[in-house]
Structure formats: structure tokens, C-alpha cells
């Protein structure tokens, strides 16, 4: 097999493929991809809920940031108020962490309510509404962070440890590793994705939501309350954004930095478009986008064999900063490629972005 690696041009491709296969099975590549994809996937679920109902939401970033901050602050506060609690063996639950998650979710829902109000009742331009949320979130969390200057942290959730026998299974072991050696929020993602996918296409709620996003007047004329449905869906979408924020400060990091969402909310948006506004598709998009970043980490710790590895190491030593930044930049580049190539054929819900005015009213 190794001789394939030595072919002139194709050799690189085989080396890459071989490396990927090996890395997936042995390194942390798969679980780390899913981990990194968690906030993206959750943000994308928020986006799907919004946009399937006809509301453009580019404020996912701000919602996540607000939730991350709120969850962190509340968790630290509770933690300081209860200093002697031991983390449970189960995911390392503590009251502080759990209440923190609830606070994050509540924050996500509140900010979503603002977006819903601006978009639906005030009929402001929805892109501006989302931008407003992003700007205020950034400013407010920065201001409060500076003001309160919290010290200490509430710690984070622990990852689940799946039984070794499952991991050691020959071909599929890595799948178990990918889905099970994660923290609670990350583990819940796949469940949420599947549940939302099924509900969107098989339940009454899903049918009504899709109709409202495509042709709200048609839904109105059969007696569906378009306004109430949109409000409800947007606020529920905030739950997902809240979970994403909670993941940032309560599962992934143990602290809050200004602007720590780092445009993840927008990658989530791209995942929505990539996935054709379906939960499963968006999840796939999230995995794809974050795969590149995980790959960067894996390559740095475990360079591939053959010329590819040599070349990469060479690049790394001559241009260390560019090399690192390139991997971080990959999701963004991928996003642009996706938008340029896919959007032309990816159709959004027909009525997205247009405020709904009930007939007979001005």
C-alpha cells in the first residue's frame, strides 16, 4: 500500500486519504470534530427553527455570546455560593453547572424574543435586527465582563467515558468513540438533530412551520396563527443558541473572554444553507466545517507519513504563524466556497425575510 504514496502527484492524495483513515481510527479526530461542531450544530438548529418559519436570523452569534456570558456568570455565582459541593460522577454535574446551563438557555430565549419582536411585530429589517443583537451582545458582555471581573470559575462538565470494549471494536469502534466520549451537551446534539428532523417533516408542528415559511398567507387563510407560530419558533430556537453558549463556557472552556464566539454563529448560518435548511443537513455541514479545524490539531500532533508529512512539516517550520492560521481559517474558506457553489442550487424557504402583514390591516 505504501508504494501508492510515492506516486508523483496522486501520491499526495493517497497519503492524505491514508492519513485520514488512520487518524479517524486512532486519534481524537472524530470525537474532536463532533465536539468542535457542537456549537455550530446547535447554532444551526437555531437557524433552522428561525428560517423555516420565515425569519432571517444572523444574530445567532450574539445570542450565543450572551448565553455563554450569562451561563458563565450565573454558574460562577452559584458555585461561589455553594463551595463544598462535590461534582457528581455523572458528567461531573454540579448545581452550579446545571443552573448555569439553564441561565444560558434563558438568555438565549430572551435575546431571541427581542429578535422575534423586532422582526415580527415591529417589522424591522431582519438582517439589521440580527446585526443589532450581535453588536449589543458584544458590547454588553464586554462591558459587564470588565465591570464585574469575575475571578475563578465554575469548572466544566466532564466527558463521558464509554466502555473500552466498545472503542476497541475493529471497524466501528471509532464511531462509538466519536459519539460517546463527549460531554453532555455535545452528546445531546445528535439526539436533538434527529428529533428536530423527524418533527419538522412528520409532525403537525413541522407542517405548519414549513407552510408559514413558504407561504404565510396560505397558512393564514386556513386558520393558522402565523404571528404566534413565528414567535414561538424563534424563541424555541433561542434554546439551541443558549445551549451552544453554555457549551462554550461550561463544557469546552472554563472561562469567558470577550467575543469568544469567534464568528461561530456565522459558520452555523453557512451550515444551515449547506444543509438545505434541514437539521440533518445542517449537522452534516457543521461536521464538515469543523473537521478542518480538528484536522489541523491532529496533523500538528501526529504528522502524516510520506512526502505529505515532510512537506507539511517544512511549511510549518518556515511559516509557523501562517500554518496555524491556515487551519483556523479553513472553516471560513469552506463556508465561502459552499455559499458560492451551493447557494445557487439551495433554495431557502420562499417567504424568508419578508415580514408578514395580515390582510385587512395596514
Amino acid at each position: 500500500m505504501e508504494f501508492l504514496y510515492d506516486l508523483p502527484v496522486l501520491g499526495f492524495i493517497f497519503q492524505l486519504a491514508g492519513y485520514l483513515v488512520g487518524a479517524v481510527a486512532t486519534t481524537n479526530l472524530a470525537p474532536q470534530t463532533l465536539q468542535l461542531a457542537t456549537p455550530i450544530a446547535l447554532g444551526a438548529l437555531c437557524g433552522v427553527m428561525n428560517e423555516r418559519s420565515g425569519i432571517v436570523n444572523i444574530g445567532i452569534e450574539g445570542m450565543m455570546l450572551t448565553a455563554a456570558f450569562a451561563g458563565f456568570m450565573v454558574a460562577v455565582f452559584v458555585d461561589e455560593a455553594m463551595p463544598d459541593v462535590q461534582p457528581s460522577a455523572f458528567f461531573g454535574f454540579t448545581p452550579a453547572l446545571i443552573i448555569g446551563v439553564l441561565a444560558a438557555v434563558a438568555a438565549g430565549m430572551l435575546v431571541s424574543l427581542l429578535h422575534a419582536w423586532l422582526s415580527i411585530s415591529v417589522r424591522a429589517d431582519q438582517i439589521i435586527s440580527g446585526t443589532v443583537i450581535n453588536i449589543i451582545a458584544l458590547g454588553l458582555t464586554g462591558y459587564l465582563n470588565r465591570l464585574i471581573r469575575p475571578s475563578g470559575s465554575a469548572g466544566t462538565f466532564n466527558s463521558f467515558r464509554p466502555p473500552q470494549e466498545l472503542i476497541d471494536l475493529p471497524v466501528v469502534g471509532w464511531i462509538f468513540r466519536m459519539f460517546l466520549s463527549l460531554g453532555p451537551i455535545s452528546m445531546s446534539v445528535i439526539v436533538l438533530v434527529i428529533v428536530l428532523q423527524v418533527l419538522l417533516f412528520r409532525s403537525r408542528w413541522g407542517l405548519r412551520t414549513r407552510a408559514v415559511g413558504e407561504h404565510p398567507r396560505a397558512a393564514d387563510t386556513v386558520g393558522i396563527d402565523v404571528i404566534w407560530l413565528r414567535y414561538r419558533n424563534v424563541v424555541l430556537g433561542g434554546v439551541f443558541a443558549g445551549l451552544a453558549g453554555a457549551w462554550l463556557t461550561l463544557e469546552f472552556n472554563a472561562s469567558f473572554q470577550n467575543g469568544m464566539t469567534a464568528n461561530r454563529g456565522f459558520i452555523a448560518l453557512a451550515a444551515v444553507i449547506f444543509g438545505r435548511w434541514t437539521p440533518l443537513g445542517a449537522f452534516g455541514g457543521a461536521l464538515l466545517f469543523m473537521f478542518s479545524e480538528a484536522l489541523g490539531v491532529a496533523i500538528r500532533s501526529n504528522p502524516p507519513a510520506g512526502e505529505l508529512g515532510v512537506w507539511l512539516s517544512g511549511v510549518q517550520s518556515t511559516y509557523p504563524s501562517l500554518y496555524n492560521n491556515a487551519f483556523s481559517a479553513l472553516p471560513y474558506i469552506l463556508t465561502i466556497i459552499v455559499l458560492a457553489g451551493v447557494v445557487g442550487r439551495s433554495i431557502a424557504p420562499a417567504a424568508v425575510g419578508q415580514p408578514y402583514v395580515k390582510e385587512g390591516t395596514t
Binding site: 423586532l118 429589517d125 435586527s129 443589532v132 449589543i136 465591570l147 465561502i336 433554495i347
Partner: protein, 392 residues
């Protein structure tokens, strides 16, 4: 309609938004005063805004007695006022440019959130060019560096423009991605390629003679003049030329534009490139004032441009005033931080609040029962509507 009434009708919503934002900001200040002052301080907002105003204009209308009592008293120190006004206009110059970068885009139905990236790339190009021509005579060096910066910004506006025009990729998400990309790429380039040996932190070379000459005050540079000159040029372009009519038509109704024989695709490319050019100039001013490009250069003027554009109703003259206003806030913020002990991030919050109230203008109208003209440009309908569509 008389001129006075027209001006009132155009500016009432922006003014109301500012007032409301300051009001909400003051609530926030009061609410957070326990953390900074130790106890609830209801007068903190007044002191805060006063020092903000003073920092911006040099005009002080309050005196604080030793025992903490506020007394009304107008005092003006001419020298301090000039300094303050200078710093206001200096802070306003880049904001005016980024405001134009967003506002002109709005006219064409495009939402240019990529101001940040365009500012960075423009500044970067200017820094590199400046370092290359550092020993040339000043007029040559400055001109070349400024042109390079404008070109860099235009280039970075061209990319999303071309993508939107030829693939339908929506400019909002693309420009946001490009913002991050610019940051990553430039950091890498400065650290690995363009770093000069010597300084303790990674940065590009000195720009020498390409530095913007100071024309007045301590830091009133050529950049101010550039910004002030661009405003009437932008106005003339948009409202008096055929090209401007085409841009406005594409923003208002792209299908009708095609029918009228215009080419929406090229107009989109041109407009976004022009927007990029404006933002690039803003970055150029910042960097040519700083003297080099540091590896990590953070700036919020790109996003602030959105507030400026909406506050100024996407009209060049409105943007001029809005830019001066927000520039004043930024110039006065350090004074506020020192005198009232409030983190300067509050300015970002207030700016966000202004934007919030501008967006919620329908509510403001009903609340205050006023009938001004709408702030959100009608062209924005095209922006949100084109979000889901494929190719233009």
C-alpha cells in the same frame, strides 16, 4: 414642504434614537454603579455624559464641588476645546468613511458588513506600501501609500461583489467570513513574512515619509481632509450622475434595472468595490497615523460604520453628521472613563442601543407619536429578500 420641516422630518427618528439610547444607557450605568462605585449612584449618568461631552467638545457645563454636589456652570477653556474638537473630528474621519462603506452599499440594496475586513486589508496594503516608499519625498510617499490602501480595500470589496453577482452568494455571510479570513491571513503574513527585526512585537516596517502629515492641532492629519472630501464626492456620484441612478435603481428594483438596460451584476461588483475602497481608506488613515501594521490589529470602526450609515440614513451628508456624533462619543470616552470610572465599553453598548432604536423606529413613532421619514432604507427590502435567492 419648508426646508426646516424637511430637515426635522428627516432627522427626528435618528435624534430620538440617540436620546433613547442615552436614556437606556444611563439606566445601565445606574444599575451597574454598585460594582464601580460601591453603591447606587443616580447621578452617575449625568456625570458620565457630561465628561463624555467635555471630552468631545471641551465644553463643560457642570462643576463638581468637593462634597460631590453638582453645580451648573459653563466653562470653556479654548485651548482644551480646540484639542477636544480636534480629537472628535479625528475620531470621526474613519467612521465617516466606514459609514459611507455601508451606506453606499445600502443604496444598491447590499449590506456590506465586511467593513472590518476591508479596513484591515486597506491598512495592511498601506503599511506595506508605506514601508516600501518610506524614503521617497513626502508627497510621493503619502500618495502612493494612500492609493495602495484604497486599492487594497477595493480589492477586498470586489471579492464579495463578484461572488454575489456571479454566484448569488449573499454578501452578508460572505463578508463576515472574509472579515475573519483577513485577520487570520494578515496575522500570519506579518508574523512570517513581513515582520521587521527589532521591535518587541511583530509588526511591519516604518512608513517613514508616508506618514500622514499633521495639518492642525496635535493629530489632525490629512486623513481628516480625505474623509471630508470624499463626502461630497460620494453625494455627487450617487445623486447626480447616471451611474448613481443606476446604483439606486438596482437597489430599489433589480428586475426593473435589467429591463431598463442596466447591468445589475456589474453594478453590484462596482458598488461593493467602491464600498471596500471607502473602508480601505479608513484603515489607511488609521495605519498611516500609527506608523506601522502590528500583527494583531483590532478595530471596531467597521461595525460602527453600520450605525453611522443608518443614523445618517444612508445619505452622505447624514453620514457626515452621524460620523461626527459617534466620533465625538469615542473621543470623549477616555475622559468619561477617567472622570466617572466607567468602562469605555459602554460606548459600544450605547452605539448598539442607537442601532436598536433605529431598527425599532416603528415603535418609536408610535411611542412618541411622531411622523418622520423612515430610516431603514427601502432598498433594504432587497437585501433581506435576496437572502434566500440564488443567483442575481
Amino acid at each position: 414642504m419648508s426646508v426646516v420641516r424637511r430637515i426635522w422630518s428627516l432627522s427626528v427618528i435618528p435624534l430620538a434614537s440617540i436620546v433613547l439610547a442615552l436614556l437606556v444607557g444611563s439606566i445601565l450605568i445606574i444599575a451597574s454603579s454598585p460594582a464601580s462605585q460601591g453603591s447606587l449612584d443616580f447621578f452617575l449618568p449625568i456625570r458620565a455624559y457630561e465628561s463624555l461631552f467635555e471630552g468631545a467638545t471641551g465644553l463643560s457645563f457642570l462643576n463638581i464641588e468637593d462634597d460631590g454636589v453638582l453645580a451648573f456652570g459653563l466653562s470653556v477653556d479654548v485651548e482644551r476645546a480646540l484639542r477636544a474638537l480636534t480629537s472628535t473630528i479625528v475620531a470621526a474621519a474613519p467612521l465617516i468613511l466606514t459609514g459611507l462603506a455601508v451606506g453606499v452599499g445600502f443604496k444598491a440594496g447590499l449590506f456590506n458588513i465586511g467593513g472590518t475586513g476591508q479596513v484591515l486589508v486597506g491598512g495592511f496594503f498601506a503599511a506595506l506600501a508605506g514601508a516600501a516608499v518610506a524614503d521617497q519625498p513626502v508627497p510621493v510617499a503619502v500618495t502612493l501609500a494612500v492609493l495602495a490602501g484604497a486599492f487594497g480595500g477595493a480589492l477586498y470589496g470586489f471579492i464579495p461583489g463578484a461572488l454575489k453577482a456571479f454566484t448569488g452568494a449573499h454578501e452578508v455571510v460572505v463578508t463576515i467570513m472574509l472579515n475573519s479570513l483577513a485577520a487570520f491571513a494578515i496575522v500570519g503574513l506579518v508574523n512570517d513574512v513581513f515582520k521587521i527585526p527589532g521591535p518587541t512585537f511583530a509588526r511591519t516596517g516604518n512608513i517613514g515619509n508616508a506618514a500622514l502629515p499633521i495639518l492642525f492641532g496635535r493629530d489632525g492629519s490629512l486623513g481628516v481632509l480625505i474623509a471630508l472630501a470624499i463626502v461630497p464626492i460620494a453625494y455627487f456620484l450617487i445623486y447626480r450622475t447616471t451611474l448613481g441612478f443606476e446604483i439606486r435603481t438596482v437597489g430599489a428594483n433589480p428586475s426593473a434595472a435589467r429591463y431598463a438596460g442596466m447591468s445589475p451584476r456589474w453594478l453590484i461588483v462596482f458598488t461593493l468595490s467602491l464600498c471596500g475602497l471607502f473602508a480601505g481608506l479608513a484603515g489607511t488613515i488609521e495605519i498611516l497615523t500609527l506608523g506601522y501594521y502590528p500583527a494583531v490589529f483590532g478595530t471596531t470602526i467597521g461595525f460602527a460604520g453600520i450605525t453611522v450609515a443608518l443614523l445618517g440614513r444612508s445619505h452622505p451628508f447624514g453620514i457626515l453628521f452621524a460620523g461626527i456624533l459617534l466620533g465625538g462619543m469615542r473621543a470623549g470616552a477616555p475622559a468619561m472613563q477617567i472622570q466617572a470610572d466607567i468602562p469605555i465599553e459602554i460606548i459600544d453598548v450605547i452605539q448598539g442601543l442607537i442601532l436598536l432604536f433605529l431598527a425599532a423606529e416603528l415603535v418609536i413613532r408610535r411611542l412618541l407619536r411622531i411622523r418622520g421619514e423612515s430610516v431603514t432604507p427601502g432598498e433594504l427590502q432587497s437585501v433581506s429578500r435576496s437572502y434566500g435567492e440564488g443567483s442575481a
